[in-house]
């Protein structure tokens, strides 16, 4: 049986969410009264109960999230081991390096530098304990700031962060950024 339009919208939001999504935010997004959310969520939870799908929707930490169904854990674990491979990809290593040298730094700042979305990689690095949130940026959005962990230093055989090899700061200056922006300018007739 197809989901209701509201349940589909909630599911879509959960698919892209990285953290559990509070019901209040869902009500806001769907523009429905807060008390309407619970039945919608129930419908969604019901639709993937009893092993109908590979994932389930759960209420957790005051929010909602999608997670793999427990009975499929062996596949997921095998994937985590094979799929992620035993080494970091060049992209992941670059993200880690940026965090190491620029910490504390937000995901958005890393993404701006690398020019791609880094949410998945940051999560992987955080999950493996190489980086950790250390606070929030001042200003609007209050982005989470990340820094490397002791485990990271330990694995690299370092005592202190200062022992990382010095690098010349090659970050493009403001004028280069402006140039990039220029090139990324949308076409005028949009």
């Amino acid at each position: 049986m197809p989901l209701s339009p509201e349940a589909r919208a909630v599911e879509a939001v959960l698919v892209v969410a990285v953290e559990p999504v509070p019901p209040g935010l869902l009500a806001e997004l769907l523009e429905v009264p807060a008390e309407r959310i619970d039945p919608i969520v129930d419908e969604l939870i019901e639709s993937c109960r009893d092993g109908e799908r590979g994932f389930e929707v759960v209420r957790i930490a005051g929010g909602l999230r999608i997670q793999t169904h427990p009975d499929l854990a062996p596949y997921v674990e095998r994937f985590a081991n094979v799929g992620v491979s035993s080494r970091l990809s060049a992209a992941a290593l670059e993200t880690l390096a940026i965090v190491a040298y620029k910490q504390p730094v937000s995901r958005a700042q890393v993404a701006a530098l690398r020019g791609v979305n880094v949410d998945g990689v940051v999560r992987l690095l955080e999950h493996r304990g190489y980086i950790t949130p250390v606070g929030r940026a001042a200003g609007p959005g209050q982005a989470v700031l990340y820094a490397t962990t002791d485990a990271f230093l330990e694995r690299l055989g370092l005592d202190r962060l200062e022992q990382l090899p010095p690098v010349e700061d090659l970050l493009p200056g403001p004028e280069a950024l402006t140039e990039l922006e220029e090139q990324m300018r949308p076409v005028s007739d949009a």
């Binding site: 290593l93 670059e94 940026i98 040298y101 992987l124 694995r155 990382l164 010095p166 700061d169």
Partner: protein, 256 residues
């Protein structure tokens, strides 16, 4: 109505060709210059690159046009006429190709727009899932981290001698001169068609032709054309002893 942004001289040509039944060699140069000047007037900063590119295209057009307008077109050397044809063919091919890629670019924009309506899931592993994965940092040294940082942040490549403008498969006139200087004394009189029959690319034929002109200028070969557009008779007239010392002066390299 909005005018499309100025994207370079080739686009200007394309727009002109597309907009009307404009004879490309009858392009109203004044209109084109007006359009360009209007464009320049809207700039906040002068872009020398665009300015010089425009000058190049304008110069080519003026040359082609003046060649047509000047009286006594009979005075034009037949070989120059040939070169003119080559230019037209190349320009035509290029315009067509540009049109195809412009159409492809429109298609890309559409695909990107459609694809952007779907967002992939990138949440990654469930946070409380226990994964006994091997240490991802195995074999990673501090130096590798530093190198990765340099890689990630080095947007501007270090200044190096940039050779990109050297064309991949350039055929040189000097090569062609050397080859002809070896072949002609042995083969005896030959025609241009015989000398170029085995060549497939237009640029090779043109280069061969320029090499013959070069040799003619140096007095090593005689060229004779019985009638307009007739085949060119080529004969080696220099002493054979010259062959070993083909010291050709500075010759140009042509991009293919």
């Amino acid at each position: 109505m909005s005018t499309p942004p100025y994207e370079g001289p080739v686009d200007v040509l394309l727009q002109l060709v597309n907009s009307h039944q404009v004879d490309i060699f009858d392009v109203p140069l004044a209109d084109m210059v007006d359009a360009f000047v209007a464009e320049v007037a809207s700039w906040t900063e002068v872009d020398l690159q665009v300015l010089s590119e425009f000058l190049v295209v304008a110069a080519v057009l003026i040359e082609l046009k003046s060649r047509r307008l000047l009286p006594g077109s009979g005075d034009i050397e037949p070989d120059e006429e040939l070169v003119g044809w080559e230019e037209r063919d190349l320009l035509l091919a290029r315009l067509l190709e540009c049109q195809a890629y412009a159409a492809a670019a429109d298609g890309f924009a559409l695909l990107i727009e459609q694809a952007a309506r779907s967002v992939p899931r990138t949440a990654g592993l469930d946070p409380d899932l226990v994964v006994h994965a091997p240490d991802l940092l195995e074999g990673v040294t501090p130096d590798l981290v530093a190198a990765a940082f340099m890689r990630a942040t080095a947007d501007r490549p270090a200044p190096v001698v940039d050779l990109y403008h050297v064309t991949v498969d350039a055929v040189t006139v000097s090569d062609a001169v050397a080859e002809l200087a070896l072949r002609l004394p042995r083969s005896g009189p030959a025609t241009f068609r015989q000398l170029t029959g085995h060549l497939t690319s237009r640029i090779e034929i043109i280069v061969r032709f320029l090499a013959l002109l070069e040799l003619c200028k140096q007095g090593r070969v005689s060229l004779d054309q019985g009638y307009a557009f007739g085949d060119l008779a080529v004969e080696w007239v220099a002493d054979d002893s010259d062959v070993v010392s083909v010291g050709i002066g500075p010759t140009d390299e042509y991009e293919g």
